[in-house]
Symmetry: C2
Subunit: 146 residues, 2 copies
Amino acid sequence: MSDTTTKKLALTTYTKLMRAAESATSRTSKVMTAAGLTISQFGVLEALYHKGPLCQRDIAAKILKSTGNITLVIDNLEKSGLVRRERDSEDRRFLTVHLTETGTALIAKVFAEVEAAIVADLATLTAEEQETLGRLCKKLGLKSAA
Amino acid sequence: MSDTTTKKLALTTYTKLMRAAESATSRTSKVMTAAGLTISQFGVLEALYHKGPLCQRDIAAKILKSTGNITLVIDNLEKSGLVRRERDSEDRRFLTVHLTETGTALIAKVFAEVEAAIVADLATLTAEEQETLGRLCKKLGLKSAA
DNA sequence: GGTGATTAGTTTAATATCAAACGATACGAT
DNA sequence: ATCGTATCGTTTGATATTAAACTAATCACC
């Protein structure tokens, strides 16, 4: 295959990958905003929901954002009464973030809706196609991480 | 296949798709920021580079952002001397945005670098795998657009 | 021709986002 | 013990982003 053909194929593949990711994101983010959550807020709540209380540094690492950013997102979640901060008594540098009852109820509901949206979206592909897509995406993702 | 299995497959496929898209984006965005461009600024310059002068509404549609956002991005590009605005003489509501010489030179260089990064990234997959990935992504993207 | 609806772009207010500087706390080595 | 280093979180300044209110210009229709 010529260099030009290789390049063209890579670029169209890249574009299709990006479009697919964007349209999937657009579906799920509609669910989140309908519930009054931003994507970041959802990310934080979802991390706490599945991993339990976390310090802000761990939350930042989990959702791939800066710690400065997390400070603001947690501020807003705290104002809405969805999470609360608790100073670690052993190492006072840490702030452990906990879901409140309201926060737990909300993320449980919204997470289920997001899951349903994803399942509905992916239903376009057969099980075999999904497995193939997943395998190729994983191969691609691993390379880039290196 | 059971509902639970269907759901699990859809969710892991979705996660892998997102991770692949993120890692590909991370590579290309490094090239852009190294050149002093934000992702949006690159998007605007690239649109003008390949489509010629455009009005702000068309730029917004092309890079899927709000017109309010485009106003700011063009403001910053204009300050940097990479684009200039020109009021349309026929319909004075329109502002046509043009690349300057500096802007053209910059986007030509950066776009080539981004392309190279994409080609290098996709080289992880064989041509056949890329075609398969592209086909599946397209199928998925089309559904969501509907 | 004049009025009402539409369209292009700007502004505003809120949240997001990062990098970098900073303050407070903890830890390690001597 | 303490001095230097590392770590956690906040702050700051810049850009991004949207939705919604707004201005200016045009068009459609009577």
